[in-house]
């Protein structure tokens, strides 16, 4: 198990050092500094073995977090724990910076004592931790016995991520469907690979211990219902459902229920958290199509024409569009003409960057450029890197739709109808490239 945990600043000075196991000595602190932080070369692995001691590290801005062990620990668990540690710290005092860590070192030690016992991660949900690890530290005494046992039962209980007795005047929840769409397309417009990786992020401000049920247009669920002959019309449902390749859930979701019935039910943590992640590869709506045309005019000139077409409802607007057209290394000058937005040749990046603030659906726009080249005797042909694109669209390119999010709280007197629900879809470009 984890033998010790150290936090360093960018210079390699120790800010936090907590040793859990006897086999980790003080020299381990220095070994990591010398061999990793002060190492000359770039770090080649997040796991380093120095003198039979293994160091796992992650970096947040210029802060290093390192977990140390001499045993055959579960490596995936150690990294998950380090990320979790970062989340917990952020939840308590904001950004992880040297200043914040120094200011909160007592709190951090207290947290480390609580969430890691003898190197075994314990409950690390901030919702629960905040009930008894407070920056004031005085909460120790005035608690009643009931309060105490409530805390302990929550920390150890099945719903460790949520405390009891949360009250909101207005019960409200926000669902964000955030997708990043990835594409690799051939110059002829053939899709070489495309996938969407999506996340459903939920912000819940709900009283009590609400039982939630989340429904989306998952093909498997819709098909099952279609067969059962319930509400949906058969033809319609087939079109609207999407095939999900794989998904993972926050620990609040009852996995065995998902496995057997494919229904997503849970008691949500309070505040913001990531309910699920998913991947799809089928029937992806590609928001933009890039049509490149490159012509070499002699040895010293290139003519480039790129057309982009938006492929979604005309009523929707895409934002932050940026097209990046690579230019050869021996470019000497570039003239660009574009119909919309601004385009610039950036010599340092070897690319023409074309930016458009907004673009509605079913439109097209075009850029043409003349690139002058310096004559070289380099025999090697220019490799023509792909044209890449960035954008943001207000829909989910995977076609995912939230069908419902039902809230049941039997003990308190509010019903599903009283909850104010907001759903937002944002599709962003991941790696969106077209070869030319």
């Amino acid at each position: 198990m984890i033998g010790g945990l150290f936090i360093y600043n960018h210079k390699g000075e120790v800010l936090i050092s907590r040793v859990y196991r006897d086999d980790i000595g003080r020299n381990a602190v220095d070994a990591f500094r010398v061999n990793v932080i002060h190492a000359r070369q770039q770090v080649r692995s997040p796991v380093t073995n120095i003198a039979r001691t293994s160091f796992f590290h992650v970096k947040r801005s210029n802060i290093w977090l390192a977990a140390v062990t001499k045993q055959n620990v579960n490596a995936a668990m150690v990294f998950e724990f380090l990320y979790k540690m970062c989340d917990v710290m952020t939840a308590y005092f904001g950004k992880i910076s040297e200043e914040n860590i120094k200011n909160n070192f007592v709190l951090i030690y207290e947290l480390l004592d609580e969430i890691l016992d003898f190197g075994y991660p314990q409950n690390s949900e901030t919702g629960a931790l905040k009930t008894f690890i407070t920056q004031q530290g005085i909460k120790g005494q005035p608690q009643t016995k009931e309060e105490q046992s409530q805390i302990t039962s929550q920390v150890t209980g099945q719903i460790g991520w949520r405390r009891e007795g949360i009250k909101y005047r207005r019960n409200e929840l926000f669902l964000d469907v955030l997708e990043s769409v990835n594409l690799l397309m051939s110059p002829q417009g053939q899709v070489l690979s495309a996938h969407v990786s999506g996340r459903v992020v939920m912000k819940s401000y709900l009283s009590g211990m609400p039982e939630c049920k989340f429904g989306m247009n998952d093909k498997i669920v819709i098909d099952k219902q279609g067969k059962g002959g319930t509400t949906d019309e058969p033809g319609k449902s087939g079109k609207q459902s999407i095939a999900i390749d794989d998904c993972t859930f926050h620990q609040c979701v009852r996995l065995s229920k998902f496995d057997s019935e494919r229904s997503i039910s849970f008691i949500p943590p309070d505040g913001e958290y990531e309910l699920m992640r998913y991947r799809t590869t089928k029937d992806i709506i590609l928001p933009f199509r890039v049509i490149p045309l490159v012509r070499e005019v002699g040895r010293t000139k290139l003519e480039v024409k790129v057309v982009i077409k938006s492929n979604f409802k005309p009523s929707l607007l895409a934002q932050k569009i940026e097209v990046r057209i690579p230019t050869p290394l021996n470019t000497s000058g570039v003239q660009v003409i574009c119909m919309k937005g601004k385009a610039k040749y950036k010599a340092s990046e070897n690319a023409i960057v074309w930016k458009i603030k907004r673009m509605a659906g079913m439109k097209e726009s075009q850029i043409s450029a003349e690139i002058e080249l310096l004559p070289t005797n380099d025999k090697k042909k220019w490799a023509r890197p792909p044209i890449s694109m960035n954008f943001e669209v207000p829909f989910a390119p995977s076609g995912l739709k939230v069908r419902y999010l039902k809230v049941f709280e039997s003990k308190l007197n509010y019903s599903d109808h009283d909850v104010i629900k907001w759903v937002r879809y944002i599709g962003r470009s991941g790696i969106y490239e077209t070869r030319c």
Partner: protein
């Protein structure tokens, strides 16, 4: 408030000031002072002098202050044990506190204080806390048992804490269960043989129930524990798998990987024709792919594991090639791992895509990555024959870039391509020769020289090229020197007229002006070969070389199996067994995959996947040629960790040099195989294919003569293994014995030389059953001339395993102050029969029926006059156990079982005809011998 100020106090007299503040009456001031102390402690200052003052602050109502004091105590108690006692009272009192948080805090902290006297006081509070009404206290106490065990294992056993801990597995609170499981697993690791965890279907059921309810971390503890369970049959295995699969959708990657581990392990037991088996395979792919969208560090862990999974079960991810394509912003460690997996998944179906990608990568910036990409192209050429042509032309394109390291890397892999497809792509040699001058790395130079030597007859100016290297001969690395020597000799044999001078020159450089023994020896061998018999020289040096196999970088199957049992852990990241990086007893247990259940399948290879490299595990085992290279220690190439696929060029050199003659060189002693030769008369060997063990059996029966050795296994008389004339005066004779479960090699070392011999050491080459010396060769006194010394060397069977031909061949190197000598001998297989080789009757019956005929061998043993009972007793002495006996038509039939050290079972039937002194061993059978399918047709009676 800004606590950061505590970090900046560097003035002198600080300790003194702190002391005053700690003893202040004001609570706030006290707390401030303790904070300062902790800050100093963090940055590494020694504040142990403040021990009494800090401990004085312990009695406080302020929880935050208390925690700080405890933190201080944990750090310094060990250095001030006497003073630490002062704290005991407070701890004991806190353990009785009304607030469960304080009770838990006290017991948690006490467990971290490694002072014997405190530990004594811990027992009673701990016992109470283990039965506390509050689950928070119980879960903390459970971990505390593990802490205490780490300090004083005996105490924990004496106090009966282990039983209480076991009871906690049935606790109503899932987190208590998870922590109890974690603690028990840890304790069990240091007691490899205890049945501490005592997993049975009932406890497993409890764990599976808790799995659904506990925290993500608890799920990991439970899954890791489940992975060590061995289900009774395939049905149980399936039902566990069914309950574990939902975990694959967990957001925590560690939960997913641990679940994958359980599934990969238990799948091993499911019959392949089961529908569920296919379903499970399909379910595994998506979560593995999803792991690649995690944070880079986790991606790295996942990729290292996927590398193992792909080797074990290529069918899972064979269609997922694209997800392993490298992204431009991946960290370098992720890029390198993805590249590795891409090569593993490369096949005829996707090779075009892979090659296009690799070509892209070869133009990136990171040197290591580019090199690996270039090597990968070469590996694709070797792996997918249809793509070789395309790969070679890609490599040529890359050479045209003239980027120095790309060119060198390309030449190294092209050499390998020549080894795989000889005489096919020589047209590229001209291009290669153009780049001769730019090569500055030894490996690339050596590769180029090898190519020139190998194709000397087709390169017009080969002599000039080689001569140009010769000028700086002494500045070259050994690798290049050896290669140059061999290449010039090859050239000479091909074009003797023009190159006589050159060969003279290189031979004298190698033999007279070099300090390197390998170079000198090789030089002499060539010289002598050339001068005595040029025709023979030609046969040796220009002999046809064995083709290199396609996937030489696969992890050795037994190691792979072990690593599969460690999915998700550090071992799977390092690709090393835990014993390689964990100190002490922990993790030294070797884990194994469970044997497959189900009928008719038992002897099949575990990988019946339609295709894929795993179908041919023997391919991984290096050929014997390499092995001789190893043994002779000719392999001087630098560690080739970066290029596992490429055989070090020197090794080829070794084969060039010694060609086929090596076998006789190493085994030149006529006494070779003498361990068995002792009883040739007893061996008519009706089945010629089984001389080795048959001989051993003959030996066993030879005892029938009735010399007084009623029990214990047979020991053959010593035979000469190493002749004095071959070993500068050292004669070694020896035999093998099994005494009280320990394998021993009895050696007689005789000094027939004129000088004293000292500094003896012994080493074995890798062999079929992993025999290795369990200790050093104990020759304490110098061996004076004409003296003989008898040594008994205990052997273990935990050494590296490699299949030998014959199976029981053992190659040994003995060193003394004079030189290193090599010989090989054969051990009787009976050496490996273990004491617990008695199979249950029912199991025997079931297994017997399942064995296919192919695995059967029979032969006769003549001239032995024993009745069945005596034979049975005798054999029992050698750990051959009689399971059943029956009499059919006047023949006694004995059914026997034997278990080998590597867990292989051999079943036998022995027919004894009364009145006729013929004993017919009917068949030896091997059930579920998964590891050794490759040995099926070996001469051993297996």
């Amino acid at each position: 408030m800004t606590d950061s100020k505590y970090f900046t106090t560097t003035k002198k007299g600080e300790i003194f000031e702190l002391k005053a503040e700690l003893n202040s009456d004001k609570k706030e001031k006290k707390k401030e002072a303790v904070k300062k102390v902790i800050a100093s402690m963090t940055v590494g200052k020694d504040v142990s002098a403040l021990f009494p003052d800090v401990v004085n602050c312990m009695q406080t109502d302020n929880l935050e202050l208390k925690k700080l004091v405890y933190l201080y105590l944990m750090n310094y108690a060990k250095s001030q044990p006497d003073m630490a006692i002062m704290a005991v009272n407070t701890f004991v009192k806190d353990c009785e506190d009304l607030n469960p948080l304080i009770r838990a805090l006290a017991v948690r902290t006490m467990g971290c204080i490694r002072v014997d006297k405190i530990t004594e006081y811990l027992c009673e509070p701990l016992r109470k806390c283990l039965k506390d009404e509050d689950p928070y206290v119980r879960k903390t106490a459970a971990v505390c048992v593990a802490k205490l065990h780490d300090i004083n294992a005996q105490l924990v056993e004496d106090q009966g804490f282990l039983d209480t801990l076991k009871d906690l597995i049935s606790d109503s609170n899932p987190m208590v269960v998870a922590n109890a499981v974690a603690a028990l697993s840890e304790i069990a690791e240091s007691h490899p043989n205890s049945n501490l965890l005592d997993l049975n279907p009932q406890t497993i059921n409890k764990l599976l129930t808790a799995l659904n309810e506990c925290t993500e971390w608890g799920q990991i503890f439970i899954l890791d524990c489940l992975a060590s369970y061995l289900p009774r049959d395939d049905r149980e295995s399936q039902s566990i798998c069914e309950r574990v699969t939902p975990r694959l959708s967990h957001a925590n990657s560690a939960v997913v990987l641990s679940a994958v581990k359980v599934l990969m392990k238990f799948m091993e037991m499911l019959p392949k024709d089961l529908d569920y088996y296919g379903t499970l395979l399909k379910k595994l792919a998506p979560p593995l792919v999803t792991l690649l969208s995690a944070e880079p560090e986790l991606q790295y862990v996942a990729l290292r594991n996927i590398n193992l999974i792909v080797q074990k079960r290529p069918e899972i991810l064979k269609h997922e090639m694209k997800v392993f394509f490298v992204k431009y912003n991946d960290p370098i460690y992720v890029k390198l791992e993805k590249l590795d997996i891409m090569i593993r998944l490369a096949s005829q179906a996707n090779i075009a895509q892979v090659l296009a990608e690799l070509k892209e990568y070869a133009t990136e910036v990171d040197v290591d990555f580019v090199r690996k990409a270039v090597r990968a192209i070469g590996r694709c050429a070797i792996k997918v024959e249809q793509s070789a042509e395309r790969c070679v032309s890609t490599l040529l394109d890359l050479i045209q870039t003239k980027v120095n390291y790309v060119v060198q890397e390309a030449i190294v892999v092209i050499k390998d391509i020549f080894r795989k497809y000889p005489n096919k792509y020589e047209s590229v040699i001209a291009t290669l020769c153009e780049n001769l001058d730019s090569l500055d790395e030894p490996e690339a130079r050596a590769a180029m020289i090898w190519i020139v030597g190998e194709y000397a007859e087709r390169i017009d100016n080969a002599d000039e090229l080689l001569e140009s290297f010769l000028e700086g001969f002494h500045d070259e690395s050994t690798q290049v020197q050896l290669q140059l020597l061999t290449a010039i000799v090859k050239l000479f044999l091909k074009k003797p007229t023009e190159t006589q001078e050159l060969v003279q020159q290189v031979l004298s450089l190698a033999t007279q002006d070099s300090d390197n023994p390998d170079l000198r020896d090789r030089g002499y061998i060539y010289w002598r070969l050339l001068s005595t018999d040029p025709v023979a020289a030609k046969e040796v040096v220009l002999a046809e070389k064995p083709l290199i196999s396609e996937e030489t970088d696969l992890i050795e199957p037994t190691l792979l199996e072990e690593l599969i049992c460690h999915i998700g852990t550090l071992a799977s990241v390092y690709h090393k067994p835990p014993s390689a990086f964990v100190e002490g007893s922990r993790g030294v247990q070797h884990k194994r995959l469970p044997p497959r259940a189900g009928s008719g399948e038992s002897t099949e290879s575990p990988d019946v996947g339609q295709s894929g490299p795993s179908e041919a595990p023997p391919a991984v085992i290096p050929s014997q040629g390499d092995l001789l290279g190893d043994l002779l220690n000719l392999d001087l190439a630098p560690p080739t960790a970066t290029v596992p696929s490429v055989q070090p060029s020197m090794q080829m050199g070794a084969m060039d040099l010694l060609g086929g003659g090596l076998d006789s060189l190493v085994c030149s002693s006529p006494a070779m195989g003498a361990g068995l030769g002792a009883a040739p008369a007893a061996m008519p060997a009706s089945l010629g294919s089984a001389p080795a063990v048959g001989g051993g059996l003959g030996d066993l029966f030879d005892l029938g003569g009735g010399v007084g050795m009623p029990t214990g296994s047979y020991v053959a008389p010593k035979t000469v293994w190493l002749l004095a004339m071959k070993a500068k005066g050292l004669e070694i004779s020896g035999t093998f014995a099994r005494r009280g479960g320990i394998i021993q090699m009895d050696l007689s070392l005789t000094n027939k030389a004129m000088s004293v011999m000292t500094d003896f050491a012994i080493q074995f080459n890798r062999n079929s059953f992993g025999l290795a010396p369990a200790g050093p060769l104990q020759v304490l006194t110098p061996l004076s001339p004409n003296q003989t010394i008898d040594v008994s060397l205990p052997l273990s069977t935990s050494g590296p395993v490699m299949k030998m031909e014959p199976l029981n061949n053992l190659q040994v190197a003995v060193k003394n102050n004079i030189d290193v000598f090599y010989f090989s001998c054969q051990y009787p297989l009976s050496l490996l029969f273990v004491e617990d080789g008695k199979m249950d009757r029912q199991v025997f019956l079931a297994t017997w029926k399942d064995i296919p005929n192919d695995n059967e061998a029979q032969f006769q043993i003549k001239d032995i006059h024993l009745n069945s009972d005596v034979a049975s007793n005798k054999l029992q002495g050698s750990n051959i156990f009689t399971i059943a006996k029956r009499t059919v038509e006047g023949q006694d039939m004995l059914y026997q079982s034997v278990k080998l050290t590597n867990g292989i079972w051999v079943l036998a039937e022995m027919r004894i005809q009364t009145g006729n002194p013929n004993y017919t061993w009917m068949c030896w059978r091997r059930p579920h011998v998964r590891e050794c399918v490759s040995q099926n047709d070996s001469p051993v009676i297996s």
